[in-house]
Amino acid sequence: MWQFILRRLLLMIPIFFVLSVIIFSLIHIVPGNPIDNLIGPGMTKAHEQKLIEKYHLDKPLPVQYGIWLANLFQGDLGTSIIEKRPVAELLRHHLPYSLSLGLTAIALSFVLGVSMGIISAAAKDTFIDHAAMVVALFGVTIPAFWLGLILILIFAVWLNLLPVSGSGDLLSLILPAVTVGLGGAGLIARITRVSMLEVASRDFIVMLHAKGLGKKAILLKHTLRNALIPVITILGLRIGWVLGGTVTVEIVFARPGLGQLLITGLFRRDYPVIQGAMLLLAMGIVLGTFLADVLYAVADPRVRDQHQ
C-alpha cells in the first residue's frame, strides 16, 4: 500500500514539470505585452526599457522559464505586474474562496449523484428511473454560468432567500456550491446507475439473492460497494471539471476566488498572476487525481496487489 502511494507521489514530479512548461510557454506566446498597460503618457523609452528589464521580458524564453522556476522553488512566484503585490500573497488571499467552493461542490455532487444513481438503478425502467436520468442529463448539459444566473434570479431576486453575491458567510456559499455541484451530480448519477446495474447482474449477486439475503442488504452492502469503484475513478479524473466550473461560477457570483484572479489576470495580461493561478489550479487537479487513486486502491484490494 505504502509502496503504491510512494510510487504515485513520485509520478507527480514529472507531471509537475510538464505542466509548468506547458503553462509557461502558452502564456508567453500571447501577443501583447503587460508593459503596454503600464505605460502612461508621461513615460519615456528609458522607463519602458527599465520595466522590461525588471521583469526579464527581454531575455529568451528558456531563460525566463529558468528564472521563474528557480524563484518558484524559493516560494517566490513573482510580483503582479499590474497590482504590484507578490503573487504568492494574492494566491493566499484568493485560494480559500475557491477551496471552500470546490470542496463543498464535490461533496454535494458525490452525495447527490450517488443517491440518485442508487434510486435510479433500484427502480430500473420505472418512471422514477427515467425522471432521475432526465434530471441528471440536464445537470450535465446545463452550462454552469447559466444555472448560476437562474438560481440568483429565483432564490435571491424573486424569493429573496439568499444573498446574490459576496464572499463572507456560509449563506453566500450555498448558491455557488449548488451551481457547481449539480453538474457533477448529474455525471456521477449516470455513472453510478450504469455501474450498479452492471454489478447487479454478476454471479455473486445472483448467488446472494438465491441465498435469500434481503434486497436492501444486497443493494447497499454488496452491489453499492463494488459499484462505487468506477465512480471514484471518474470522480478523480473529472475533478478538474468541477474545479473548472468554479472559475465561471466565481465570475457569476462575484466571489473573489482563483477563477476571478485568473480571468482578470488574463484580461490585463498580467503574466505572473496567470502563471501562478494556473499552476495552483493545475496542481489542485493533479493532487485530486492522486487522492482518488489512493482512495481507489483502498477500496479495491486488486489494484493494490497489482502494484506490488
Partner: protein
C-alpha cells in the same frame, strides 16, 4: 450478446444500415434527439426567413420590454428582438460546434492512431501530453488558448479544437491497440501492405465508431464551451449574435429584463440535450460497449 454480434456480422452492410435506422425509429429518445438536431440545423440555415426582426436593428423606444405578442421573447437593452437574435445565434453555435469538433477529431484521431499503432517511446510521449491536456479543465485550456490566439469566432474554434482533441486521441489509441493484433492485420501485412495502408485503410474504419459517438456528444459540449467563452467576453464580437454574448450582456440587466438571459439558455440546453440523446442512442445502434467511451 455474442450471438447478436455474430448475426450482425453476417448481414450485408446495406441491410445493416437499414437495421440501424430502424433502431433509431423504434427508440423514442433517439428520435427526439435526431428531431432536435435536425430542427437546429434547419433554424440555422433559414434564420433570415424565420426571424421576425433583424438581429441588429435597434429600437430604443422599446428597450428591455417583456415578452409580448410582438416580441415573443421580449427585447434587450437596445430594443432588439431576443427571439430573432436567438434564431441568428444558432448559426454561430452550429458553426463553432461542428467545425471545432471536426478539427479536434482530425487532430485527435491522427495523433491517437500514430501513438497506438507505433507504440514505444512515441506512444509514451504522445500519451503523456494527451492525458495531461485531458485532465486539465477544458475551460482553463480554452481560456489560455483564447488569450493566445485572440477573441473572435475563428479563434474560439481553434481554441476548442486544441482543447478537445485529447479525448478523441485516447479513444482512437485504445481502439487501435485492441485491433492491431487481429489476424486480418497480420494477413494484410504479409501481403506486403505498408503501415500507411494498414493504419488508414484497415484499422481506421474499424476504430472510428466510438469516436463518432463521442463527437456527437462533443458538438453539444463545444456549443456550451463557446457560450461560456462568449459569456466571459472572449467569443464572437458584437453585433454578431451569439448565445453566450447575449447572456453576457444580459447579466447587467438581470433584475430588469431576465428574459434576455433565460431564453438563450433554454435554447442552448435544448440543443445540447438533443446531441446527448442522439449520442446515447448511437451507442446502442453501433453496438459499442459503454466502457470504451470512458
Amino acid at each position: 450478446m455474442e450471438t447478436h454480434q455474430d448475426q450482425e456480422s453476417i448481414i450485408p452492410p446495406a441491410n445493416r444500415w437499414i437495421r440501424r435506422v430502424k433502431k433509431i425509429r423504434s427508440n423514442r429518445a433517439g428520435l427526439l434527439g435526431a428531431f432536435l438536431i435536425a430542427g437546429l440545423i434547419l433554424v440555422a440555415l433559414t434564420a433570415d426567413l424565420l426571424a421576425p426582426y433583424s438581429y441588429k436593428e435597434q429600437d430604443l423606444t422599446i428597450m428591455n420590454s417583456p415578452p409580448s405578442i410582438d416580441h415573443l421573447m421580449g427585447t434587450d437593452e437596445f430594443g432588439r428582438d431576443v427571439f430573432s437574435r436567438i434564431l441568428h445565434g444558432s448559426r454561430i453555435s452550429v458553426y463553432v460546434g461542428v467545425v471545432s469538433v471536426g478539427l479536434s477529431v482530425l487532430i485527435g484521431s491522427l495523433l491517437g492512431a500514430i501513438a497506438g499503432y507505433y507504440g514505444g517511446i512515441l506512444d509514451r510521449g504522445l500519451s503523456l501530453i494527451t492525458d495531461l491536456t485531458w485532465s486539465l479543465p477544458e475551460i482553463l485550456v480554452a481560456l489560455l488558448l483564447v488569450a493566445v490566439v485572440g477573441a473572435g469566432v475563428e479563434c474560439v474554434i481553434i481554441a476548442i479544437a486544441l482543447t478537445y482533441w485529447a479525448q478523441y486521441a485516447r479513444l482512437i489509441r485504445g481502439q487501435i491497440l485492441m485491433l492491431k493484433n487481429e489476424i486480418y492485420v497480420e494477413a494484410t501485412r504479409s501481403l506486403g501492405a505498408t503501415d500507411y495502408t494498414i493504419l488508414f485503410k484497415h484499422l481506421f474504419p474499424n476504430a472510428i465508431a466510438p469516436v463518432i459517438v463521442a463527437a456527437t456528444i462533443g458538438i453539444g459540449q463545444a456549443i456550451v464551451l463557446e457560450a461560456t467563452l462568449g459569456f466571459l467576453g472572449m467569443g464572437a464580437q458584437p453585433p454578431t449574435p451569439s448565445w453566450g454574448a447575449m447572456m453576457s450582456n444580459g447579466t447587467a440587466y438581470l433584475f430588469i429584463s431576465p428574459w434576455v438571459i433565460i431564453f438563450p439558455g433554454i435554447a442552448m440546453m435544448i440543443t445540447v440535450f438533443g446531441f446527448n440523446l442522439f449520442g446515447d442512442v448511437l451507442v446502442d445502434i453501433m453496438d459499442i460497449r459503454e466502457d470504451t467511451l470512458k
